[in-house]
Symmetry: C2
Subunit: 248 residues, 2 copies
DNA sequence: TCGCGCGTTTGATCTAAGTCAAAGATATGT
DNA sequence: ACATATCTTTGACTTAGATCAAACGCGCGA
C-alpha cells in the first residue's frame, strides 16, 4: 500500500541539505559517526501516508525536503491538521511505540530517519541529544498553543493571514534572509489542506484569499505563488501584536 | 501587586499531597533530598495571576491543590486558554527565561516550586529527571494537539462534552477509581473560563450545559456539582471514538 | 434583613462561516 | 489537441454561534 522507498544513503550526515540541524547541531564528530550508522532516507510522493495513527512507529526522523502534516480525523470524517512539518522539523517521539496522528506527505517528501531503538540508546548515553529534544518539544508545544489561539479565537481572515505569515517566516528563515522588503514564496498547501489546518472549509479559505488579494495584502501569481508586499501589514491582518506571532 | 505568599515548608517531599509525582516519581532518596533543598510552596487566591506572559520566570513547579490556567490574550481582549493545570501538572520550561503565557489561579491554588537555576543544574546531573520532563512535555504536546481538534472542528455541544469528560477523567484518576458507574465531580471553572478554554462565548457555554442537562447527559446540583450517569454517553457527545479522547 | 455584586440563565436578533451547487482553471495522460 | 481529473473560485442560501439585553439566584457585608 505505501509506495515509499528506502533510498540509498548517498552522503554523510554533514552533506545533508539541512545538516540534521534538528538533531545533531551540537554533536561531536564521533557522535555524528554513530548517527550515520543508524540513518537512512525515505522518499514519499505527495499524498502518501507516512504513518497511520495507531501504527507502530519504529523510527524517528526529520524532514529534509517537502512538507508533511500531522492530522487527526473523527469517525465522521472531520479532520484537523495538528502540525505542519517543514524542512528540519522532527517527527516521532522517543519512548513512545505508536504514532498518535496520521503523518501525510503534503508534497513530495524526503525524510531522514533513524531507527528508533538505537536512537533511544544513543539518547541515554548522549545527554545533549536528550536536552536538544526537550527544547525542540517545548518549541513544538509553544507552536501548538499559539495555534490554539488561532483556532479558538481568530476570524477566518486572521487565520489565513496567520498561516501565510508562518509559511513566509519559515521560508525566509530557511533562506537566511531578513524579513524586510517584499517576501515571495510558494504556498505548499492546497486550499483543502489549509482549511484542515485552520479549522475552516475550503470555500472559506478560497474566499478569504481572494479578499486578501483584492485588498492588496498579498499578490498571487498562479494559485500558489505568493508575494507579500508588506509583511507588517500581513501581521496586522493576522491579529498578532507587532513583536511577531509564532515562536517555533 | 501580586498578593502571593511564599509559605513555610511544613513537610518533606514525600509527605506532599501529590508526592511530586510530576518530577520525582522515580528519584533516589539522595536526589529527593536535593530537591527538598530547592523546594518551596506558594499560595495564590482565586483570580490572582501567578505569572504574566513576558515576565522573567525564575522557578518551575507543580500544582499541589487547586487549578491554574495558561492563557493568551490578543490586544483587543480576546483570550484563549491554552492549558488547564490540575494537581500534579507541571509549570515552567527549563532552559527558558521568560514565561510565554499568563498563568492564572482559577481557584485557590497551592504550588510547589523549585528555583529554576538549581533545578536545571540538577537536571544536568540527573538524566532521568530530564527524561521524565521530556515524557511530560510530549504528553502536554499530545494534549495540546488533541485540543486543536476540539477547537478547530467540534461543535459547541461536543466542546462542552469534551471538557466535561477531561475533567471527569482527571478527577477519577486522582481518586484512583475506575470510570465505571456514575461519575460525580465539581466543575472547577466558571462559565467564562470554560468559554475561554473552548473558544466560545459564555452564553453559548451556558446554553449547551442546559441542553446537556435537559437531555439527561449530565445532572447538576447547584451550578458546579456535576453527575455523569453514563460516561460512555458523554464520550459519544464529545465525538470521541470509544477508546477515549485525551491522552495526558 | 436588605442591597449589592457576581456568576449564570434565557431570550431576541444578527452575522460569519458553512453548505450546496455550478462553473473556471490547470494539469495529466492518450 | 482533446478528454479527464483535480483544484479553485464564485454565487445563493442556511445556520450555528455571537451579540445585545434583561432578569435570575445566591453569597456576603452592612
Amino acid at each position: 500500500m505505501l509506495k515509499d522507498e528506502t533510498i540509498a544513503v548517498p552522503q554523510k550526515c554533514g552533506d545533508c541539505p539541512i545538516r540534521h540541524k534538528a538533531v545533531c547541531a551540537r554533536c561531536e564528530p564521533q557522535e555524528l559517526e554513530q548517527l550515520e550508522q543508524i540513518k537512512y532516507y525515505r522518499k514519499f510522493e505527495a499524498g502518501q501516508t507516512v504513518i497511520w495513527a495507531g501504527d507502530r512507529m519504529d523510527f524517528v526522523g526529520s524532514v529534509v525536503t517537502g512538507i508533511a502534516s500531522l492530522t487527526q480525523t473523527m469517525e465522521d470524517g472531520r479532520t484537523q491538521m495538528v502540525g505542519l512539518l517543514l524542512p528540519s522539523d522532527f517527527v516521532g517521539r522517543p519512548g513512545r511505540d505508536g504514532a498518535v496522528y496520521n503523518v501525510v506527505a503534503t508534497t513530495d517528501l524526503v525524510m531522514c530517519c533513524f531507527r528508533k531503538k538505537p536512537f533511544e540508546d544513543m539518547m541515554v548515553i548522549t545527554p545533549h541529544i536528550a536536552h536538544r529534544l526537550l527544547q525542540m518539544t517545548l518549541d513544538e508545544l509553544d507552536a501548538a498553543r499559539e495555534w490554539m489561539l488561532v483556532l479558538g479565537r481568530k476570524t477566518a481572515r486572521e487565520k489565513i493571514a496567520s498561516l501565510l505569515s508562518i509559511v513566509a517566516r519559515r521560508d525566509a528563515a530557511l533562506r537566511q534572509m531578513g524579513m524586510a522588503g517584499p517576501l515571495v514564496f510558494d504556498l505548499p498547501l492546497t486550499r483543502e489542506a489549509m482549511a484542515d489546518y485552520l479549522g475552516l472549509t475550503l470555500e472559506t479559505v478560497s474566499r478569504q484569499i481572494s479578499a486578501l488579494k483584492r485588498d492588496g495584502v498579498i499578490e498571487l501569481a498562479g494559485k500558489r505563488h505568493v508575494t507579500v508586499p508588506d509583511f507588517l501589514r500581513l501581521m496586522e491582518e493576522a491579529g498578532d501584536d507587532s513583536d511577531g506571532g509564532m515562536p517555533a
